[in-house]
Subunit: 214 residues, 2 copies
Amino acid sequence: MHPRTSFTAVTSPKRAGRPRSAAADRAILDATRAALAEVGWGGLTLGDVAARAGVAKTTLYRRWAGKNELVVDALAALFEEQLDLPDLGGLEADIQGVVLRFAELIERPETRTALMAVVAEAAQDDALRLRIREAIVDRQKHLVLLGRRRAQQRGELPPDKAEDPARDDLIFDVIAGAVVHRVMVSSGPVDREWALRLARLLVDGLGALHLPPP
Amino acid sequence: MHPRTSFTAVTSPKRAGRPRSAAADRAILDATRAALAEVGWGGLTLGDVAARAGVAKTTLYRRWAGKNELVVDALAALFEEQLDLPDLGGLEADIQGVVLRFAELIERPETRTALMAVVAEAAQDDALRLRIREAIVDRQKHLVLLGRRRAQQRGELPPDKAEDPARDDLIFDVIAGAVVHRVMVSSGPVDREWALRLARLLVDGLGALHLPPP
DNA sequence: CCAGTTACGCTACGAGTCGTAGCGGAATCG
DNA sequence: CGATTCCGCTACGACTCGTAGCGTAACTGG
Protein backbone atom coordinates (compact mmCIF):
# COMPACT_ATOMS: atom_id res chain seq x y z
CA MET A 1 0.00 0.00 0.00
CA HIS A 2 1.13 3.50 -0.61
CA PRO A 3 2.67 5.48 2.21
CA ARG A 4 -0.01 8.08 1.67
CA THR A 5 -2.36 7.95 4.59
CA SER A 6 -4.82 10.29 3.03
CA PHE A 7 -7.00 10.17 6.10
CA THR A 8 -6.13 12.49 8.89
CA ALA A 9 -3.05 11.14 10.64
CA VAL A 10 -4.12 7.60 11.38
CA THR A 11 -1.13 7.14 13.65
CA SER A 12 -0.69 3.42 13.11
CA PRO A 13 0.18 1.38 16.19
CA LYS A 14 3.90 1.90 16.58
CA ARG A 15 6.42 2.43 13.86
CA ALA A 16 10.05 3.29 13.74
CA GLY A 17 11.32 6.65 12.60
CA ARG A 18 10.11 10.18 12.94
CA PRO A 19 6.35 10.37 13.33
CA ARG A 20 4.21 12.57 11.20
CA SER A 21 3.47 15.92 12.68
CA ALA A 22 -0.14 16.12 13.79
CA ALA A 23 0.30 19.85 14.06
CA ALA A 24 1.18 19.96 10.37
CA ASP A 25 -1.98 18.05 9.56
CA ARG A 26 -4.13 20.52 11.42
CA ALA A 27 -2.30 23.47 9.91
CA ILE A 28 -2.74 22.09 6.40
CA LEU A 29 -6.43 21.38 6.78
CA ASP A 30 -7.04 24.77 8.39
CA ALA A 31 -5.12 26.45 5.59
CA THR A 32 -7.11 24.53 3.02
CA ARG A 33 -10.41 25.71 4.44
CA ALA A 34 -9.17 29.27 4.68
CA ALA A 35 -7.94 29.24 1.11
CA LEU A 36 -11.20 27.72 -0.12
CA ALA A 37 -13.17 30.46 1.57
CA GLU A 38 -11.03 33.10 -0.10
CA VAL A 39 -10.25 31.89 -3.59
CA GLY A 40 -12.70 29.05 -4.07
CA TRP A 41 -12.14 25.62 -5.56
CA GLY A 42 -10.91 26.80 -8.93
CA GLY A 43 -8.40 29.22 -7.48
CA LEU A 44 -7.02 26.79 -4.94
CA THR A 45 -3.44 25.71 -5.53
CA LEU A 46 -1.50 23.28 -3.38
CA GLY A 47 1.46 25.59 -3.38
CA ASP A 48 -0.65 28.29 -1.80
CA VAL A 49 -2.00 25.91 0.82
CA ALA A 50 1.51 24.80 1.73
CA ALA A 51 2.67 28.39 2.09
CA ARG A 52 -0.30 29.28 4.29
CA ALA A 53 0.23 26.24 6.47
CA GLY A 54 3.95 26.91 6.81
CA VAL A 55 4.98 23.54 5.42
CA ALA A 56 6.80 22.43 2.30
CA LYS A 57 4.79 21.57 -0.76
CA THR A 58 6.30 18.10 -0.80
CA THR A 59 4.84 17.39 2.61
CA LEU A 60 1.39 17.84 1.11
CA TYR A 61 2.04 15.31 -1.61
CA ARG A 62 3.42 12.83 0.89
CA ARG A 63 0.03 12.70 2.60
CA TRP A 64 -2.57 13.34 -0.04
CA ALA A 65 -2.73 12.16 -3.60
CA GLY A 66 -4.07 15.45 -4.89
CA LYS A 67 -6.46 18.35 -4.56
CA ASN A 68 -9.58 16.21 -4.40
CA GLU A 69 -8.49 14.06 -1.49
CA LEU A 70 -7.12 16.99 0.46
CA VAL A 71 -10.30 19.00 0.16
CA VAL A 72 -12.50 16.06 1.11
CA ASP A 73 -10.53 15.64 4.30
CA ALA A 74 -10.64 19.35 4.98
CA LEU A 75 -14.41 19.35 4.62
CA ALA A 76 -14.81 16.13 6.55
CA ALA A 77 -13.36 17.82 9.61
CA LEU A 78 -16.29 20.23 9.52
CA PHE A 79 -18.79 17.39 9.50
CA GLU A 80 -16.95 15.32 12.07
CA GLU A 81 -18.53 16.81 15.14
CA GLN A 82 -21.11 14.51 16.53
CA LEU A 83 -24.53 15.24 15.26
CA ASP A 84 -27.25 15.02 17.80
CA LEU A 85 -30.95 15.37 17.24
CA PRO A 86 -32.46 17.14 20.22
CA ASP A 87 -36.00 16.01 20.97
CA LEU A 88 -38.14 19.03 20.29
CA GLY A 89 -41.37 17.32 21.15
CA GLY A 90 -42.78 16.65 17.72
CA LEU A 91 -41.85 15.36 14.29
CA GLU A 92 -42.32 18.70 12.59
CA ALA A 93 -40.14 20.52 15.10
CA ASP A 94 -37.50 17.77 14.92
CA ILE A 95 -37.28 18.09 11.16
CA GLN A 96 -37.09 21.84 11.37
CA GLY A 97 -34.26 21.52 13.87
CA VAL A 98 -32.18 19.14 11.84
CA VAL A 99 -32.67 21.21 8.71
CA LEU A 100 -31.40 24.32 10.43
CA ARG A 101 -28.46 22.43 11.84
CA PHE A 102 -27.55 20.93 8.49
CA ALA A 103 -27.85 24.32 6.81
CA GLU A 104 -25.29 25.75 9.21
CA LEU A 105 -22.73 23.37 7.76
CA ILE A 106 -23.69 23.96 4.15
CA GLU A 107 -23.75 27.73 4.34
CA ARG A 108 -20.13 28.12 5.39
CA PRO A 109 -17.99 29.67 2.64
CA GLU A 110 -15.62 26.68 2.50
CA THR A 111 -18.50 24.29 2.06
CA ARG A 112 -20.27 26.38 -0.52
CA THR A 113 -17.25 26.68 -2.77
CA ALA A 114 -15.88 23.17 -2.39
CA LEU A 115 -18.54 20.60 -1.58
CA MET A 116 -20.20 20.61 -4.97
CA ALA A 117 -16.82 20.64 -6.65
CA VAL A 118 -15.66 17.43 -5.05
CA VAL A 119 -19.03 15.85 -5.70
CA ALA A 120 -18.57 16.70 -9.35
CA GLU A 121 -15.08 15.22 -9.39
CA ALA A 122 -16.43 12.11 -7.71
CA ALA A 123 -18.60 11.43 -10.72
CA GLN A 124 -15.51 9.95 -12.37
CA ASP A 125 -13.70 8.63 -9.33
CA ASP A 126 -15.21 5.75 -7.43
CA ALA A 127 -12.76 5.90 -4.56
CA LEU A 128 -13.42 9.58 -4.04
CA ARG A 129 -17.16 9.03 -4.11
CA LEU A 130 -16.89 6.34 -1.47
CA ARG A 131 -14.75 8.58 0.66
CA ILE A 132 -17.23 11.43 0.47
CA ARG A 133 -19.99 9.15 1.58
CA GLU A 134 -18.05 7.78 4.51
CA ALA A 135 -16.64 11.04 5.71
CA ILE A 136 -19.49 13.44 5.05
CA VAL A 137 -22.80 12.05 3.89
CA ASP A 138 -23.33 9.01 6.06
CA ARG A 139 -22.59 11.01 9.16
CA GLN A 140 -25.96 12.67 8.70
CA LYS A 141 -27.97 9.72 7.61
CA HIS A 142 -28.57 8.05 10.95
CA LEU A 143 -30.48 11.13 12.04
CA VAL A 144 -33.25 10.14 9.67
CA LEU A 145 -33.59 6.72 11.25
CA LEU A 146 -33.50 8.23 14.72
CA GLY A 147 -36.11 10.86 13.99
CA ARG A 148 -38.42 8.38 12.35
CA ARG A 149 -38.31 5.97 15.30
CA ARG A 150 -39.02 8.77 17.66
CA ALA A 151 -42.04 9.79 15.63
CA GLN A 152 -43.28 6.22 15.61
CA GLN A 153 -43.05 6.05 19.39
CA ARG A 154 -45.07 9.22 19.60
CA GLY A 155 -47.65 7.73 17.27
CA GLU A 156 -47.04 10.37 14.59
CA LEU A 157 -46.06 7.71 12.06
CA PRO A 158 -47.34 4.14 11.70
CA PRO A 159 -45.04 1.30 12.82
CA ASP A 160 -42.89 -0.57 10.32
CA LYS A 161 -44.22 -3.66 8.62
CA ALA A 162 -40.75 -4.54 7.34
CA GLU A 163 -37.31 -3.01 7.26
CA ASP A 164 -37.02 -0.77 4.24
CA PRO A 165 -33.69 0.99 3.91
CA ALA A 166 -34.70 2.51 0.60
CA ARG A 167 -37.33 4.52 2.43
CA ASP A 168 -34.83 6.18 4.72
CA ASP A 169 -32.54 6.77 1.76
CA LEU A 170 -35.36 8.59 0.03
CA ILE A 171 -36.12 10.75 3.03
CA PHE A 172 -32.48 11.64 3.33
CA ASP A 173 -32.15 12.54 -0.32
CA VAL A 174 -35.19 14.77 -0.06
CA ILE A 175 -34.10 16.67 3.02
CA ALA A 176 -30.42 17.01 2.21
CA GLY A 177 -31.11 17.67 -1.45
CA ALA A 178 -33.64 20.38 -0.68
CA VAL A 179 -31.29 22.22 1.66
CA VAL A 180 -28.34 21.98 -0.71
CA HIS A 181 -30.42 23.12 -3.68
CA ARG A 182 -31.84 25.99 -1.68
CA VAL A 183 -28.40 27.22 -0.65
CA MET A 184 -26.29 26.44 -3.69
CA VAL A 185 -28.66 27.00 -6.58
CA SER A 186 -31.50 29.21 -5.42
CA SER A 187 -29.15 31.20 -3.18
CA GLY A 188 -31.88 31.67 -0.61
CA PRO A 189 -31.58 31.67 3.16
CA VAL A 190 -32.44 28.63 5.22
CA ASP A 191 -34.16 30.40 8.08
CA ARG A 192 -36.69 29.14 10.62
CA GLU A 193 -39.62 29.89 8.39
CA TRP A 194 -38.25 28.05 5.36
CA ALA A 195 -37.29 25.08 7.51
CA LEU A 196 -40.76 24.99 9.03
CA ARG A 197 -42.46 24.98 5.67
CA LEU A 198 -40.23 22.18 4.49
CA ALA A 199 -41.05 20.20 7.63
CA ARG A 200 -44.78 20.74 7.09
CA LEU A 201 -44.51 19.61 3.50
CA LEU A 202 -42.79 16.43 4.53
CA VAL A 203 -45.14 15.60 7.35
CA ASP A 204 -48.48 16.48 5.79
CA GLY A 205 -47.87 16.69 2.05
CA LEU A 206 -48.36 19.47 -0.47
CA GLY A 207 -51.79 20.43 0.83
CA ALA A 208 -50.25 21.75 4.01
CA LEU A 209 -48.40 24.48 2.13
CA HIS A 210 -51.63 26.35 1.51
CA LEU A 211 -51.94 27.34 5.13
CA PRO A 212 -50.68 30.76 6.21
CA PRO A 213 -47.12 30.89 7.58
CA PRO A 214 -47.28 31.69 11.32
CA MET B 1 -19.37 46.13 -23.90
CA HIS B 2 -16.92 43.40 -24.58
CA PRO B 3 -16.94 41.74 -27.97
CA ARG B 4 -17.48 38.43 -26.19
CA THR B 5 -21.00 37.32 -26.80
CA SER B 6 -20.78 34.48 -24.36
CA PHE B 7 -24.31 33.46 -25.19
CA THR B 8 -24.75 31.24 -28.17
CA ALA B 9 -24.31 33.40 -31.25
CA VAL B 10 -26.80 36.16 -30.55
CA THR B 11 -26.46 37.38 -34.10
CA SER B 12 -27.04 41.04 -33.40
CA PRO B 13 -29.22 42.94 -35.92
CA LYS B 14 -26.80 43.74 -38.73
CA ARG B 15 -23.18 44.54 -38.50
CA ALA B 16 -20.40 45.08 -40.96
CA GLY B 17 -17.67 42.57 -41.53
CA ARG B 18 -17.44 38.83 -41.52
CA PRO B 19 -20.10 37.21 -39.34
CA ARG B 20 -19.32 34.65 -36.70
CA SER B 21 -19.58 31.11 -37.81
CA ALA B 22 -22.63 29.48 -36.28
CA ALA B 23 -21.21 26.14 -37.32
CA ALA B 24 -18.16 26.83 -35.19
CA ASP B 25 -20.40 27.54 -32.23
CA ARG B 26 -22.18 24.24 -32.58
CA ALA B 27 -18.93 22.38 -33.09
CA ILE B 28 -17.41 23.95 -30.00
CA LEU B 29 -20.37 23.22 -27.76
CA ASP B 30 -20.63 19.66 -29.05
CA ALA B 31 -16.92 19.16 -28.48
CA THR B 32 -17.23 20.57 -24.98
CA ARG B 33 -19.93 18.09 -24.06
CA ALA B 34 -18.00 15.20 -25.59
CA ALA B 35 -14.86 16.16 -23.71
CA LEU B 36 -16.77 16.55 -20.46
CA ALA B 37 -18.22 13.09 -20.81
CA GLU B 38 -14.76 11.66 -21.37
CA VAL B 39 -12.38 13.52 -19.10
CA GLY B 40 -14.71 15.32 -16.71
CA TRP B 41 -14.57 18.88 -15.47
CA GLY B 42 -11.12 18.70 -13.95
CA GLY B 43 -9.55 17.19 -17.03
CA LEU B 44 -11.17 19.58 -19.45
CA THR B 45 -8.77 21.93 -21.22
CA LEU B 46 -9.75 24.58 -23.69
CA GLY B 47 -6.97 23.52 -25.99
CA ASP B 48 -8.45 20.06 -26.17
CA VAL B 49 -11.90 21.43 -26.88
CA ALA B 50 -10.55 23.58 -29.70
CA ALA B 51 -8.77 20.65 -31.25
CA ARG B 52 -11.86 18.45 -31.09
CA ALA B 53 -14.01 21.17 -32.59
CA GLY B 54 -11.54 21.83 -35.38
CA VAL B 55 -11.14 25.51 -34.53
CA ALA B 56 -8.27 27.59 -33.23
CA LYS B 57 -7.90 28.08 -29.51
CA THR B 58 -8.07 31.83 -29.97
CA THR B 59 -11.55 31.51 -31.42
CA LEU B 60 -12.71 30.05 -28.13
CA TYR B 61 -11.36 32.98 -26.15
CA ARG B 62 -12.95 35.45 -28.53
CA ARG B 63 -16.40 34.11 -27.59
CA TRP B 64 -16.18 32.91 -24.02
CA ALA B 65 -14.38 34.43 -21.07
CA GLY B 66 -13.26 31.08 -19.74
CA LYS B 67 -14.05 27.52 -18.85
CA ASN B 68 -16.99 28.33 -16.62
CA GLU B 69 -18.94 30.32 -19.19
CA LEU B 70 -18.26 27.84 -21.96
CA VAL B 71 -19.46 24.88 -19.95
CA VAL B 72 -22.58 26.67 -18.79
CA ASP B 73 -23.51 27.34 -22.39
CA ALA B 74 -22.71 23.78 -23.36
CA LEU B 75 -24.98 22.46 -20.64
CA ALA B 76 -27.68 25.01 -21.34
CA ALA B 77 -28.12 23.55 -24.79
CA LEU B 78 -29.11 20.28 -23.17
CA PHE B 79 -31.82 21.95 -21.13
CA GLU B 80 -33.06 24.11 -23.96
CA GLU B 81 -35.30 21.50 -25.53
CA GLN B 82 -38.97 21.81 -24.94
CA LEU B 83 -40.25 21.28 -21.47
CA ASP B 84 -43.75 19.96 -21.46
CA LEU B 85 -45.69 18.41 -18.63
CA PRO B 86 -47.99 15.79 -20.09
CA ASP B 87 -51.25 15.45 -18.18
CA LEU B 88 -51.13 11.98 -16.70
CA GLY B 89 -54.49 12.28 -14.98
CA GLY B 90 -53.40 12.88 -11.42
CA LEU B 91 -51.01 14.90 -9.29
CA GLU B 92 -49.03 11.89 -8.20
CA ALA B 93 -48.54 10.65 -11.74
CA ASP B 94 -47.66 14.15 -12.96
CA ILE B 95 -44.93 14.48 -10.35
CA GLN B 96 -43.61 11.05 -11.17
CA GLY B 97 -43.47 12.00 -14.81
CA VAL B 98 -41.61 15.25 -14.34
CA VAL B 99 -39.15 13.60 -11.98
CA LEU B 100 -38.31 10.94 -14.54
CA ARG B 101 -37.96 13.55 -17.22
CA PHE B 102 -35.70 15.73 -15.13
CA ALA B 103 -33.59 12.74 -14.17
CA GLU B 104 -32.94 11.99 -17.83
CA LEU B 105 -31.14 15.32 -18.10
CA ILE B 106 -29.21 14.95 -14.88
CA GLU B 107 -28.03 11.41 -15.52
CA ARG B 108 -26.16 12.21 -18.73
CA PRO B 109 -22.39 11.94 -18.34
CA GLU B 110 -21.79 15.55 -19.35
CA THR B 111 -24.26 16.78 -16.77
CA ARG B 112 -23.01 14.56 -14.00
CA THR B 113 -19.42 15.69 -14.35
CA ALA B 114 -20.01 19.37 -15.02
CA LEU B 115 -23.23 20.67 -13.51
CA MET B 116 -22.12 20.54 -9.90
CA ALA B 117 -18.75 21.96 -10.86
CA VAL B 118 -20.18 25.13 -12.36
CA VAL B 119 -22.58 25.46 -9.44
CA ALA B 120 -19.57 25.34 -7.15
CA GLU B 121 -17.76 27.98 -9.19
CA ALA B 122 -20.88 30.11 -9.13
CA ALA B 123 -20.60 30.39 -5.36
CA GLN B 124 -17.99 33.08 -5.95
CA ASP B 125 -19.25 34.53 -9.21
CA ASP B 126 -22.54 36.39 -9.22
CA ALA B 127 -22.72 36.71 -12.99
CA LEU B 128 -22.18 33.01 -13.45
CA ARG B 129 -24.83 32.17 -10.87
CA LEU B 130 -27.35 34.39 -12.63
CA ARG B 131 -26.49 32.81 -15.93
CA ILE B 132 -27.00 29.30 -14.57
CA ARG B 133 -30.39 30.27 -13.26
CA GLU B 134 -31.50 31.83 -16.53
CA ALA B 135 -30.17 29.14 -18.80
CA ILE B 136 -30.77 26.00 -16.78
CA VAL B 137 -32.73 26.25 -13.57
CA ASP B 138 -35.59 28.56 -14.40
CA ARG B 139 -36.40 26.54 -17.48
CA GLN B 140 -37.78 23.87 -15.19
CA LYS B 141 -39.45 26.04 -12.61
CA HIS B 142 -42.64 26.90 -14.44
CA LEU B 143 -43.51 23.21 -14.47
CA VAL B 144 -44.16 23.45 -10.76
CA LEU B 145 -46.65 26.26 -11.24
CA LEU B 146 -48.31 24.41 -14.08
CA GLY B 147 -48.61 21.16 -12.20
CA ARG B 148 -49.99 22.84 -9.12
CA ARG B 149 -52.71 24.70 -11.03
CA ARG B 150 -53.71 21.50 -12.73
CA ALA B 151 -54.01 19.77 -9.39
CA GLN B 152 -56.12 22.62 -8.06
CA GLN B 153 -58.52 22.33 -11.00
CA ARG B 154 -58.84 18.64 -10.27
CA GLY B 155 -59.57 19.41 -6.65
CA GLU B 156 -56.45 17.60 -5.42
CA LEU B 157 -55.11 20.76 -3.81
CA PRO B 158 -57.01 23.65 -2.19
CA PRO B 159 -57.24 26.92 -4.15
CA ASP B 160 -54.86 29.78 -3.44
CA LYS B 161 -55.72 32.38 -0.87
CA ALA B 162 -52.89 34.63 -2.05
CA GLU B 163 -50.00 34.49 -4.45
CA ASP B 164 -47.04 32.95 -2.71
CA PRO B 165 -43.96 32.54 -4.91
CA ALA B 166 -41.93 31.24 -1.98
CA ARG B 167 -44.15 28.19 -1.90
CA ASP B 168 -43.38 27.23 -5.50
CA ASP B 169 -39.72 27.93 -4.88
CA LEU B 170 -39.80 25.47 -2.00
CA ILE B 171 -41.49 22.78 -4.03
CA PHE B 172 -38.94 23.23 -6.76
CA ASP B 173 -36.01 23.04 -4.39
CA VAL B 174 -37.41 19.85 -2.91
CA ILE B 175 -38.01 18.05 -6.19
CA ALA B 176 -34.91 19.18 -8.04
CA GLY B 177 -32.75 18.85 -4.96
CA ALA B 178 -33.95 15.33 -4.26
CA VAL B 179 -33.26 14.16 -7.81
CA VAL B 180 -29.83 15.76 -7.93
CA HIS B 181 -28.87 14.40 -4.54
CA ARG B 182 -30.07 10.95 -5.50
CA VAL B 183 -28.03 10.91 -8.69
CA MET B 184 -24.92 12.81 -7.70
CA VAL B 185 -24.40 11.86 -4.06
CA SER B 186 -26.26 8.63 -3.40
CA SER B 187 -25.44 7.32 -6.88
CA GLY B 188 -28.76 5.54 -7.07
CA PRO B 189 -31.03 5.14 -10.07
CA VAL B 190 -34.06 7.33 -10.61
CA ASP B 191 -36.43 4.67 -11.87
CA ARG B 192 -40.21 4.56 -11.92
CA GLU B 193 -40.45 3.13 -8.43
CA TRP B 194 -38.23 5.74 -6.83
CA ALA B 195 -40.05 8.52 -8.62
CA LEU B 196 -43.39 7.15 -7.48
CA ARG B 197 -42.33 7.01 -3.87
CA LEU B 198 -41.08 10.57 -4.04
CA ALA B 199 -44.39 11.66 -5.55
CA ARG B 200 -46.32 9.90 -2.80
CA LEU B 201 -44.20 11.53 -0.16
CA LEU B 202 -44.86 14.96 -1.58
CA VAL B 203 -48.57 14.46 -2.04
CA ASP B 204 -49.46 12.69 1.19
CA GLY B 205 -46.54 13.21 3.55
CA LEU B 206 -44.23 10.85 5.34
CA GLY B 207 -47.00 8.53 6.48
CA ALA B 208 -47.59 7.42 2.89
CA LEU B 209 -44.14 5.86 2.72
CA HIS B 210 -45.21 3.04 4.99
CA LEU B 211 -47.44 1.51 2.38
CA PRO B 212 -46.09 -1.33 0.26
CA PRO B 213 -44.58 -0.37 -3.10
CA PRO B 214 -46.82 -1.71 -5.89
C1' DC C 1 24.87 6.19 22.83
C1' DC C 2 24.24 4.49 18.24
C1' DA C 3 22.58 2.64 14.03
C1' DG C 4 18.25 2.28 11.46
C1' DT C 5 14.20 4.34 9.90
C1' DT C 6 10.95 7.67 8.69
C1' DA C 7 9.46 12.56 8.14
C1' DC C 8 10.63 17.28 7.03
C1' DG C 9 12.27 21.55 4.46
C1' DC C 10 14.41 23.11 0.51
C1' DT C 11 15.70 23.52 -4.32
C1' DA C 12 15.26 22.42 -8.91
C1' DC C 13 13.12 20.56 -12.83
C1' DG C 14 10.24 19.01 -17.17
C1' DA C 15 5.67 18.94 -18.54
C1' DG C 16 1.44 20.93 -19.26
C1' DT C 17 -2.01 24.69 -19.32
C1' DC C 18 -3.40 29.43 -19.41
C1' DG C 19 -4.60 33.58 -21.73
C1' DT C 20 -2.78 36.98 -24.97
C1' DA C 21 -0.44 39.25 -28.96
C1' DG C 22 0.52 39.66 -33.67
C1' DC C 23 0.12 38.36 -38.33
C1' DG C 24 -1.96 37.23 -43.07
C1' DG C 25 -5.99 35.90 -45.17
C1' DA C 26 -11.16 35.20 -45.67
C1' DA C 27 -15.96 36.82 -45.59
C1' DT C 28 -19.34 40.40 -45.62
C1' DC C 29 -21.29 45.29 -45.98
C1' DG C 30 -21.86 49.94 -48.08
C1' DC D 1 -13.25 48.78 -53.80
C1' DG D 2 -12.32 50.03 -48.99
C1' DA D 3 -13.71 49.23 -44.37
C1' DT D 4 -14.72 46.05 -41.02
C1' DT D 5 -14.88 41.91 -38.58
C1' DC D 6 -13.77 37.17 -38.06
C1' DC D 7 -10.66 33.10 -38.53
C1' DG D 8 -6.46 30.14 -38.28
C1' DC D 9 -1.83 29.99 -37.03
C1' DT D 10 2.39 30.66 -34.32
C1' DA D 11 4.71 32.20 -30.50
C1' DC D 12 5.16 33.66 -25.94
C1' DG D 13 5.63 34.57 -20.61
C1' DA D 14 3.45 33.18 -16.48
C1' DC D 15 1.81 29.86 -13.73
C1' DT D 16 0.78 25.26 -11.63
C1' DC D 17 1.67 20.49 -11.35
C1' DG D 18 3.88 16.54 -9.40
C1' DT D 19 8.40 14.50 -8.66
C1' DA D 20 13.43 13.80 -7.54
C1' DG D 21 17.34 14.57 -4.80
C1' DC D 22 19.68 16.15 -0.81
C1' DG D 23 20.79 17.25 3.95
C1' DT D 24 18.71 17.39 8.38
C1' DA D 25 15.40 16.39 12.30
C1' DA D 26 12.90 13.17 15.26
C1' DC D 27 11.95 8.86 17.10
C1' DT D 28 12.71 3.47 18.01
C1' DG D 29 15.12 -0.57 19.30
C1' DG D 30 19.35 -2.62 20.65
